[in-house]
Symmetry: C2
Subunit: 217 residues, 2 copies
């Protein structure tokens, strides 16, 4: 059997996690075992990174006061977002957009400082480190699903205010508040699809050949 | 058996793909079966996206002339990167940074245009769509590994020049040249680690609690 080979069962497991992963907003209070959390963080750390830069840093929030302060930040941005959405404001305000006060584990995912010294793969597109961290979070997300744990990525916050809260250096960058925990049930479909906020596009409308010949919706 | 539950074998398969995924630069010319390619694209399409925006577009490059033109763009940027690296220029020029002329499938991953209308989760951090596309690529990467296929993400190019080549609208954004194909062998470690360009950091140095109290390297 060639070493490249995955069995049908292995392949199916990977697709299962890809299709069953959900951006969760509802959590149980049951704690996450520390060895499981370490496995998830190590899965993140084995993501690809531009020039093998490994720009990711994770800040675990164990302080109850800090949790409340982070929740307040998100609540503030939720209201600002609702106002910016104009005619969809009321519809938006009915959605549950975070589970910060319920989830047992909160991690802030951030880009480290001193990134300008990394040029490999970033000379024309310095944001590639942000792509690397996103891949790391996706690794963690899929591994969490396989561990029976939910994860929710909250991006509704003022990054500068969060930096101040966490004493982050000027040239670092928080990109996600990750809520993690056991769940009663994973959503059958993405919550925003279940709630009729958006629908899944037809894959064929997203694929072009050689030239950008189909208009974007 | 609760529906959240994955068997030990399923969980192991997911970690296997996470740990064995590599950023590949060496490919065999053997074609990729079209049903496999469709599965990979559908895996990408089932990534999380901010506000369920699905900002990803994929352009398949089947034109040999376009392939050469894309290779030329990358070669140009490779030389510029080498110069910018100063004392590591010679070391860098020995690395294989792409497999564009060898791989059977090239996809350009891009962000669609018209993104300013999407405010959900992007009011303070508009780049969240870029995170979504990165997660989509990571899905494809892991699924490709499970299919026995290699994938390499090349970010060494001038995005504006690539936009012109592919007739992309002004407000769209190419973020990756993805080289895909069968491989003789997956690297045992990340190629840049095997080639002593960088080393894997100790996970514990990347984790903080409540405050950013450890200096970035």
């Amino acid at each position: 059997m060639p070493e490249n080979f995955y069995s049908d069962a292995e392949r199916a497991a990977i697709y299962r996690a890809i299709y069953e992963r959900r951006d969760m907003r509802h959590f149980l209070s049951k704690p996450i075992a520390s060895d499981v959390l370490t496995r998830l963080l190590d899965a993140a750390h084995h993501a690809p990174s531009v020039g093998f830069m490994q720009p990711w840093r994770f800040i675990r929030i164990s302080s109850p006061n800090l949790r409340v302060a982070i929740h307040d930040l998100v609540e503030q941005e939720r209201v600002s977002t609702a106002e910016a959405l104009n005619e969809r404001e009321d519809e938006f305000m009915k959605l549950k957009v975070e589970g910060i006060m319920e989830c047992p584990v909160i991690l802030i995912a951030a880009l480290c400082g001193g990134r300008e010294q990394y040029i490999f793969g970033r000379r024309t597109m310095p944001d590639m480190d942000f792509a690397s961290l996103s891949c790391a979070i996706q690794n963690m997300w899929l591994a969490a699903r396989a561990e029976g744990l939910g994860l929710g990525w909250v991006s509704m916050f003022d990054p500068n205010a969060l930096k101040v809260l966490l004493n982050m250096p000027e040239d670092s960058q928080p990109i996600a508040i990750l809520c993690m925990g056991h769940v009663d049930k994973f959503y059958d479909k993405p919550m925003l699809e279940e709630q009729h906020w958006e629908y899944r596009k037809d894959l064929n409308t997203l694929l072009y050949e050689n030239t950008w010949n189909t208009p974007c919706p």
